[in-house]
């Protein structure tokens, strides 16, 4: 049960139940679709840019608690950041998810995203947490093809 509480922290449960920025954005500057073929999770991500800075972000789709909460918290975290800052944030987030449990990992700069540290214990769920971020990369590049976790 303790591992489960690590994975399903209250913040994650809360974002799953009430995802933030959960709506389509008809006037988005960037848009991409993401798909996790393993579990069928799908999401669409929308970005509005102000020069090099993300001024607004939203998403729609269907996914598990980890993927929904990750998308919800990601949209909150990237709003107002420059693309370089977002890239650094993703790199830290990815390190957090993929560092083995017995190794120390820095949570510097991750702020609320730290709640995903429990995912480390569940390697098959890492892709759930990164689907939104893969889709973000595709949206920034404005790729027409669907971002996939596989």
């Amino acid at each position: 049960m303790s591992d489960l509480r690590e994975l399903y922290q209250q913040t994650i449960i809360d974002h799953n139940r009430k995802p933030r920025n959960f709506h389509p954005m008809p006037d988005a500057d960037h848009h991409a679709k993401g798909h996790n073929p393993l579990c069928g999770d799908r999401l669409e991500l929308y970005l509005k840019m102000d020069g090099n800075r993300i001024s607004d972000a939203s998403f729609t789709g269907v996914g598990c608690a980890i993927s929904t909460a990750s998308a919800s918290m990601m949209t909150e975290a990237i709003k107002g950041r420059t693309l370089d800052e977002v890239k650094t944030l993703y790199s830290h987030f990815h390190t957090l998810l993929t560092t083995p449990m017995h190794k120390p990992v820095s949570t510097d700069g991750l702020d609320k995203l730290e709640v995903f540290s429990g995912v480390r214990e569940f390697p098959v769920r890492v892709k759930c947490a990164t689907l939104a971020w893969h889709t973000l990369e595709a949206a920034i590049k404005d790729e027409k093809s669907e971002a996939k976790t596989e």
Binding site: M1, D3, I13, D41
Partner: protein, 418 residues
């Protein structure tokens, strides 16, 4: 190990047995260090000692290539391989062992039919009738062959309860269909399709019928003659046998008329650069050294199932299904996907507001193994407008205690998400 082999070789033959009695035949289910409550039998079954021992015995005592050596080991290996074929043929009610072709599994068996019978017989405008509940492995091979022949695919609709619309099916077949390919039991819904009636309808309108038996052979008595189908395909690993082995059964005259699937050793009669001639059926379809150990293991698996008696396996699983569904419906917010009148022990379900993937992870913490996802049935998921389901699929070695563990795990899921 010896004593357990003896126990499975001398079972309580035709005496009543319970799930708890047969469970001890499965080493993975009785491991104290790694407890598992295994409810993913539609994906693959566990293996009894008798099967593991038969496979090992081949490698330890008779390992040699088959159908060629004049020496003792090769003769023994050939005998073991061919008597496995005979045992499997008898198990599914085949008239003659030569009608059973070993393949890598059910998927390869369907591909074999598509790429041999299909390429030979389908023409532009020919119709292949599938159903909404087919596994990808009974869809994609037909798409491949349709793309090459110009044949078209039509789909039999399914009701919300998970039953095929047989009236619609007959209309599709009557429209000049060449082939019907249908699953015997749905790996998502558990629906047992009326394939005997469907075979009659297909034949009445001049179509052939392939039955995908991946989910049925280990769970109910199957007699291909009584089903009246033309092709029947299945996998070894879902029926207590090893992975990497399966079989195609087809009526002998169909096999005789079909061109080879792959070329190589063993499938030929003569080879010259001017041309080659084919070996007789079934060897015509078994190019190269086959999975000899796998075939022998599958032979041991059908011997094992035969001793337990398929009707008894079917009633044991039916009782478990009733027990499980009744208990599951006491869970608030639980919805069953698939409630056909004739249903095997496959239970797909959803929990209100909780994604199947999360259910799977939390149950795993309780050592309960279920499957979550689209189960290789994306068109069926689309029909129900769901991305995935959670699925518990039961076998005769599951007990009521396993179901109780599932139920308490599901209550834990709800607790985590409260």
């Amino acid at each position: 190990m010896t004593h357990t082999i003896t126990s499975t070789l001398n079972p309580p033959a035709s005496s009543p047995w319970t799930s708890a009695d047969v469970r001890v035949d499965f080493p993975i289910l009785t491991s104290a260090e790694r407890p598992v409550i295994y409810l993913d039998n539609a994906a693959t079954s566990q293996k009894p000692d008798a099967v593991i021992a038969a496979t090992t015995r081949y490698y330890k005592t008779m390992n040699a290539n088959i159908h060629r050596g004049v020496y003792r080991l090769s003769v023994e290996a050939t005998d073991a391989y061919e008597s496995a074929r005979a045992g499997i043929a008898a198990f599914i009610g085949a008239g003659n062992p030569r009608e059973v072709v070993f393949t890598r599994g059910c998927t390869e068996a369907i591909n074999l039919v598509a790429m041999t019978w299909g390429l030979q017989n389908l023409k532009p405008g020919s119709t292949i009738v599938l159903t909404q509940m087919e596994h990808h492995s009974n869809i994609v091979p037909w798409q491949l062959v349709a793309a090459r022949t110009g044949a078209k695919i039509v789909v039999t609709p399914v009701s919300n309860d998970g039953e095929l619309d047989i009236g619609a099916f007959e209309r599709l077949v009557a429209n000049g269909a060449a082939l019907v390919a249908v699953t015997h039991i749905s790996n998502v819904l558990g629906t047992i399709n009326p394939v005997q009636d469907m075979a009659r309808i297909a034949h009445r309108h001049g179509a052939l019928i392939l039955v995908d038996g991946a989910q049925s052979v280990a769970h109910m008595p199957v007699h291909v003659g009584e089903l009246g189908c033309d092709f029947f395909t299945f996998s070894g690993h879902k029926m207590c046998g090893p992975t990497g082995i399966g079989a195609l059964w087809a009526r002998g005259e169909l096999l005789d008329a079909m061109p080879p699937y792959q070329g190589g050793g063993d499938m030929i009669s003569t080879v010259s650069f001017e041309g080659s001639t084919w070996n007789m059926v079934p060897h015509k379809f078994e190019a190269g050294t086959p999975d000899i150990a796998g075939a022998i293991g599958l032979g041991a698996a059908v011997d094992y199932l035969k001793r337990l008696e398929m009707p008894r396996i079917a009633t044991t699983e039916a009782d478990l299904l009733t027990y499980a569904e009744k208990a599951m419906l006491t869970i608030p917010g639980l919805r069953l996907i698939g409630q056909a009148r004739h249903k095997a022990s496959v239970i797909s379900f959803m929990l209100d507001g909780i994604h199947p993937h999360d259910i799977g992870t939390i149950l795993d913490q309780e050592h309960v193994a279920i499957r979550t996802g689209h189960h290789c049935c994306q068109p069926l998921m689309d029909f129900y407008h769901i991305p995935a389901t959670a699925r518990a699929s039961l076998a005769f070695y599951n007990t009521q205690a396993d179901i109780d563990a599932l139920i308490s795990g599901l209550r834990r899921v709800i607790e985590v998400f409260r």
